[in-house]
């Protein structure tokens, strides 16, 4: 099987290790990975700020990039950016015939990483040879939870990682407070939301916070670091990575 990788812009620029881990995880299952280099961003920052025209323009570019790739699936290590393409692209182009069909076609191909691993590749963590020492809680990003409805898949994968103990935590369904530009437009409220998650994290006894979204992790990790917290924040792909720890 061959898949095309969609690496969100901030993962590309800030967390390239997450994309590297994604490639390794996919390859360890014998999947051929392509990376169409013309890709940039899904347009979500503009869309969430109400700049629909600009978002459409960026989305049009991304659709073109993946139309030139023949892979059956487009795999993305982010619930939020996957939801933007799979859920909101068809909405964004709702009233534009032609573009709407293109949006729906890409929406049908894009899969968030854990969704792809479990539901398409039929993989378990044991197939990957994942090992990770730690007590972890899982945070589902809100798009992952509600727009994609992919909740069980990451937990199932984590449950199979050797050495990892998956813990429950309080109010796990609450948003971390990132919300894209919300975090800078409403910093005080956003930070109060993060603090509630930090408190729940403290109560859980976990030493690691795992998510399928580096954006939530950037927010909670940024708050944890400011508070001098030792909790590790890791993307699911990094935990699953059979070569975890090896630097490119």
């Amino acid at each position: 099987m061959r898949v095309a990788l969609f690496v969100p812009c901030y993962v590309d620029q800030i967390y390239p290790g997450v994309a590297v881990a994604t490639v390794r995880v996919l390859r360890s299952l014998g999947i051929e990975v392509s990376y169409p280099e013309g890709q940039t961003c899904c347009g979500q920052p503009a869309f969430n700020s109400g700049f629909f025209r600009e978002a459409r323009s960026v989305a049009g570019h991304l659709m073109g990039v993946f139309e030139n790739d023949r892979s059956d699936y487009v795999v993305c290590p982010s619930g939020s950016c996957s939801a933007m393409v799979a859920h909101y692209y068809p909405v964004l182009f709702e009233e534009r015939r032609g573009e709407r069909e293109r949006a729906e076609a890409l929406a049908g191909r894009v899969r968030e990483l854990s969704d792809f691993l479990v539901n398409v590749a039929g993989a378990e963590a044991s197939d990957l040879g994942s090992r990770f020492e730690g007590r972890a809680v899982f945070h589902a990003g809100c798009h992952q939870r509600r727009e994609l409805g992919v909740l069980e898949e990451p937990r199932r994968l984590l449950g199979g990682v050797e050495g990892l103990e998956l813990l429950e935590w309080e109010n796990e369904e609450l948003c971390c407070g990132f919300g894209g530009t919300f975090s800078v437009k409403m910093p005080q409220v956003s930070t109060a939301m993060a603090d509630e998650k930090v408190k729940a994290l403290e109560g859980s006894g976990a030493d690691t916070l795992v998510s399928c979204d580096s954006s939530c992790l950037m927010h909670l990790g940024g708050r944890l670091a400011r508070k001098g917290h030792g909790t590790r924040v890791m993307h699911l792909a990094e935990v699953l990575d059979p070569e975890h720890g090896r630097v490119v």
């Binding site: 690496v7 812009c9 590309d12 620029q13 800030i14 967390y15 390239p16 290790g17 994309a19 590297v20 490639v23 390794r24 990376y35 280099e37 013309g38 890709q39 940039t40 961003c41 347009g43 920052p45 503009a46 969430n48 700020s49 109400g50 700049f51 629909f52 600009e54 323009s57 960026v58 049009g60 570019h61 909405v91 809100c142 798009h143 939870r145 509600r146 609450l174 948003c175 407070g177 919300g179 919300f182 975090s183 800078v184 437009k185 409403m186 910093p187 005080q188 409220v189 930070t191 109060a192 939301m193 993060a194 509630e196 950037m218 990790g221 940024g222 708050r223 670091a225 400011r226 490119v248």
Partner: protein, 489 residues
């Protein structure tokens, strides 16, 4: 009520105008202040901890709940498509039963109608049961001020609402008006009324309130209620309460006035069971509220209960402007408060931070729709768009998608501000061009070099200050993924 503050001494600041310079400052500042109020946050969390699991459990125990939600949405959609016809049907049914009907275009219209009615009746005391529609139009203040010569005493009889009124405060939650107060604060307010110190004990305080409010029910000349539903085919007004005050307000005073938003309409009696099964379960986790009142016109010949005069005031106040627009779904709301209860933003700030009658996600949606975007610029941004509101809504209003559409409307109306508009133009151009994207990454790496210390970007002035004030900012990686890919993984 001797100690009740007269209108002019009460806090009547228009909270909408307070400190809103940029589109987002108002909510951030008020919300930020609220989020530092530990007593408030404690009360909010306690309420959510009680109500949300109860809501989930009662709905889970109702196997047809998902189907009811679908039906509720369809009924409301159909009602809005034919609202003029249903309103007419309702009006005819009420008039056929001997009631009066008045279509009010705005709050001023309602004030005039009720004020003139009070004058004609020589009314002195008006008893009210909880009504968000009359809060929306500030009926109490405007009646007291506009009809000062009548010397009206207007008393809220919902316990929470009465306490809010005594304190010169406004409700902070659709169904829990004084959610923001703890027992100590309530005791303080009621002690002042009692002229003696009352303990912060719920039983003692409610017994005291009950005694005081009974006097008002018995002496009231007019009772004013809102409506949870208006049934077009029968002309029946349905109100749900947990305290029984609604029933006293509608049956003891000789005159009953209903102020009902036109969106409260449902076509048929049989539709009611769809909504009553959802409303209390969604709002408080009860299967049904303690009281469900059906009032159809004034007391008929040979009937024992009901007012001598019955007036139905149908309030538009901007609602009909939404019909047939992409925002129409906002009118489907049944005011259960469920979206407030699950909202992680409301959970930190409470209702007053929204600076509007309606708070939480539904408030952030309908306030700009009813009052205009200029009056509530900040509210569509008072959300992380997590979608918990849309998920919980018992009638399926896509609340967070409506917030997105409102943000888009601001952009289309040129309200987004020059800086933000320019920034997204740059964003668009950069993201459409892989070459520009790559150059921007390189420039960013060069620019951040002097600012990165120990794996974090030092706080810098500018738009990122909002982030760096309370959180560490990770720097751009030494190489982006695309370079690593080219180098071989």
């Amino acid at each position: 009520m001797e100690t009740r503050k007269p209108a002019r001494e009460r806090d009547t600041t228009d909270r909408r105008r307070e400190g809103i310079e940029s589109p987002v400052e108002g909510f951030n500042e008020r919300g930020g202040r609220a989020a530092r109020d530990e007593a408030l946050r404690g009360a909010l969390r306690l309420f959510a901890t009680k109500v949300v699991p109860a809501r989930n459990a009662t709905l889970a125990a109702l196997p047809e709940a998902p189907e009811l939600r679908e039906r509720a949405y369809r009924i409301k959609r159909e009602t809005m498509a034919n609202l003029d016809r249903y309103l007419e049907e309702m009006a005819e049914a009420v008039e056929a039963r001997g009631g009066s009907v008045h279509f009010a275009s705005d709050g001023e219209d309602v004030v005039r109608y009720v004020g003139e009615l009070a004058r004609r009746r020589g009314a002195k005391v008006i008893a009210k049961s909880k009504s968000m529609a009359t809060e929306e139009i500030e009926l109490n203040r405007r009646l007291e001020e506009g009809y000062a010569d009548l010397g009206l005493e207007i008393v809220e009889t919902d316990l929470g609402e009465w306490i809010a009124q005594l304190a010169g405060d406004t409700p902070s939650h659709i169904i829990g008006p004084i959610l923001h107060m703890n027992a100590e604060r309530v005791a303080e307010i009621l002690s002042e009324v009692a002229g003696e110190e009352l303990p912060p004990d719920a039983t003692v305080l409610s017994r005291f309130a009950r005694g005081r409010l009974r006097e008002k029910f018995l002496t009231a000349d007019i009772g004013i209620t809102g409506a949870n539903f208006g049934v077009a085919e029968s002309g029946t007004v349905v109100t749900v309460t947990n305290e029984g005050n609604g029933r006293l307000v509608t049956s003891v005073p000789p005159v009953h006035v209903v102020v009902m938003g036109i969106e409260k309409m449902i076509p048929r009696f049989e539709d009611l069971s769809v909504f009553t099964r959802l409303l209390a379960r969604s709002g408080t986790g009860q299967k049904l509220t303690v009281y469900t009142n059906f009032v159809t016109g004034p007391r008929g010949p040979g009937e024992l209960d009901g007012a001598e005069e019955f007036h139905l005031v149908l309030l538009d106040n901007g609602r009909s402007n939404l019909l047939g627009t992409p925002f129409e779904e906002a009118l489907y709301c049944i005011r259960c408060g469920s979206c407030l209860n699950v909202c992680p933003v409301y959970r930190q700030t409470g209702g007053h931070a929204y600076g509007s009658t309606y708070s939480g996600p539904i408030g952030a949606v309908i306030t700009p729709l009813l009052k205009g975007d200029e009056e509530a610029k900040d509210l569509p941004h008072a959300s992380s768009l997590c979608g918990a509101c849309s998920e919980t809504c018992p009638v399926g209003i896509p609340l967070h998608d409506l917030l997105l559409k409102l943000r888009n409307r601001q952009v289309e109306e040129g309200m987004a501000g020059k800086t933000q508009t320019a920034a997204f133009k740059v964003f668009e151009n950069t993201m459409k061009s892989p070459a520009l994207y790559n150059i921007s990454g390189k420039l960013g790496r060069a620019a951040q070099r002097p600012l990165v210390r120990e794996g974090t970007v030092r706080p810098v002035p500018g738009p990122l200050r909002g982030w760096t004030g309370s959180r560490e900012l990770p720097p751009l990686a030494p190489k982006p993924f695309r370079e690593l890919w080219r180098g071989g993984i």
